[in-house]
Symmetry: C2
DNA sequence: ATTTTTTTTGTAAGCGGTTACATTTTTTGT
DNA sequence: ACAAAAAATGTAACCGCTTACAAAAAAAAT
């Protein structure tokens, strides 16, 4: 059943059927009705390939992310997909893992699918020294690229991010103001936003006229699957003599690991140790006491990303960089003696 | 840049170029080399629409799930997408939410995209009384349908699931054997697998010759976002006088909520209350003590689903129903006095 | 009533591949 | 060296839709 069959049944040309399908207004109402009824009675749906061939667009957008099972990225994908669907777009999802090669391959795959736009959810894809981003620039020459929580300069690349630096600075500052003089910083990634977070941590000390002790900045090599190991990692740091009365982490699971350590050692939280995570994920409410965390407004980021994406695709002029602010959410692992909000 | 341009540059016909691209073996090595070098030098990629039009397949598979930000479904999508990509397939992801209407629309959308197969990840789509599944059967007439954790009879529908009933029975039985006489059952869904789990709970009592007290079966209306409410819900049950010394839940977050209640009330876990969750998600290791849970082998389910899917697409005869066993993972909320494994 | 303008409809040429079939080239057999 | 078989290549129709342009029909203007 194709457009030709429909046109025969309706006694009109394929052009007219096409016009009806695409909602053109230059069709006589009576004709439109007839065609529509035939289409409905035959249960006809246009062939998307043929349409794509003609229009060179299938209203499809590619989403790349390193790992869609990561809680944060899964949410990002969910919000993005939902917003795109509302705008009549379909999503091809591809998870690239954390290796550059597979990231490049994914992008090539999406390009060969002639997606209308590519969204990079998560900044793992970006080389900070810009050495290896050629394939992104190349793609950007033919299709707009949306970057979530990342940054790259190109006239066809749009960046939407949370000011992670400012947010982390706020969190750290909160602890400093609370007389926490030794604040452990845990992180597990060197992505763009992770780097920004770390610089926020450093800024906080600078701002207060304090010196940031590099010994308190610790890299943990693992993901949320390794939560138990995080606890061991922190315990080991403490056993080795590192004294700390505050923890800020670049991701919630790291903070949960630190909290585990505290609970097991019987350390009073937040009295003797304050802990602040990042992302404000479900994990924050699983623990007892519940974890304070920075909310980086993922939903807002995603809906705006899609808004800008749709705008750019329809030729409107859209802002190249869009930045939102994070928010510190106080629960039970940060001392609420001070104003919370 | 299209196949015609390449053929000109290489001094061969489009048919030959096409043969090279598709890896046919009836091309003279020298010719193949020349064509490949031209393709590489021009950075040419075939137009997927045109190819799709010709083959009536874009090597694309649709994945439907209610909510890809749900931790369990996010993992499912991740595993499925990865396995499909390894087999050269692309994935169109669509999240339907929990309403029938949007589910039907998603499916129609995928059909109009001429996907080669549709995967329903999660059984929310299935009406138990089979009253409203017509659209699924209709789709199955033209394309194979894969059901994860669900069940439907049709010659073109393949079902892959965990025997949730048996797994839940095992968990419940464990508690009964541990002299837990009042076991609260928490659930929040009426999907196929949720129903199966509940029947497993009931079977356990039957098997032991005990009567299952319906008063202990409680429905909580919410998702993991409402974790705090779960705790309130359980607290309220206790306050109303319901006595229980065991909890099994159809999802981990419900168990975490129950655990929260216990921790706050100072109830000793597992001594005075044993708790077992379901899905073996990250949540299980966030809590202190850590949560025992049933692992329903999601990765195995997904890789097998894809294996069967690929097989079916290439015309092989594949099993209509595939069932795996779940496994009870003991952590610190179940008494390990007995053998744990 | 005739001409002009506007609206509606039709014709046919793409879009960029695949592939059945025809043709040419190469290899093999005698 | 020549015929037969096999391998390599080319030709052109086809997939199902869109759309520029042409043509016909309807409406408006004279």
């Amino acid at each position: 059943m194709n457009i030709y069959d429909i046109s025969k049944l309706a006694g009109v040309s394929t052009a007219t059927v096409s016009r009806v399908i695409n909602g053109f207004d230059n069709v006589k109402p009576a004709t439109r009705e007839k065609v529509l009824s035939i289409i409905a009675s035959q249960g006809y749906t246009p062939n998307a390939f043929a349409r794509g061939l003609g229009l060179n667009s299938m209203k499809t957008i590619g989403i790349m992310c390193a790992d869609s099972s990561d809680m944060y990225l899964a949410k990002a994908v969910y919000y993005i997909e939902g917003a795109l669907r509302e705008n009549g777009y379909h999503c091809i999802l591809t998870c690239t893992g954390y290796e550059r090669k597979s990231q490049r391959e994914s992008m090539e795959m999406l390009m060969s699918q002639h997606v209308d736009c590519i969204i990079l959810a998560g900044s793992i894809f970006i080389d900070k020294d810009n050495s290896n981003n050629k394939y992104i620039y190349k793609a950007a020459d033919s299709v707009p690229i949306m970057l979530l929580n990342a940054n790259l300069d190109h006239k066809n690349i749009y960046c939407i991010s949370c000011d992670d630096s400012a947010a982390m600075e706020k969190a750290t500052e909160f602890l400093i103001d609370n007389k926490r003089n030794n604040i452990l910083y845990l992180y597990n990634s060197n992505s763009y936003s992770a780097t920004r977070k770390l610089s926020g941590y450093r800024h906080a000390f600078e701002k207060k006229g304090l010196k940031c002790n590099e010994d308190y900045i610790r890299y943990f090599n693992g993901t949320s699957k390794d939560l138990e190991k995080v606890c061991g990692f922190v315990t080991e740091l403490a056993d080795k003599g590192l004294k700390f009365n505050g923890v800020v982490a670049s991701e919630d699971f790291l903070a949960v690991g630190a909290l585990k350590y505290a609970v097991r050692k019987g350390i009073k939280v937040p009295k003797d140790l304050e802990i602040i995570g990042y992302n404000n994920s479900v994990l924050t409410v699983c623990t007892e006491p519940e974890l304070s965390s920075v909310d980086n407004q993922l939903e807002t980021l995603c809906t705006n990303l899609v808004r800008i994406c749709i705008g750019a695709l329809s030729g409107e002029s859209m802002p190249q960089k869009t930045v939102f602010n994070g928010e510190l959410i106080h629960r039970s692992t940060s001392a609420s003696s001070r104003k919370t909000k």
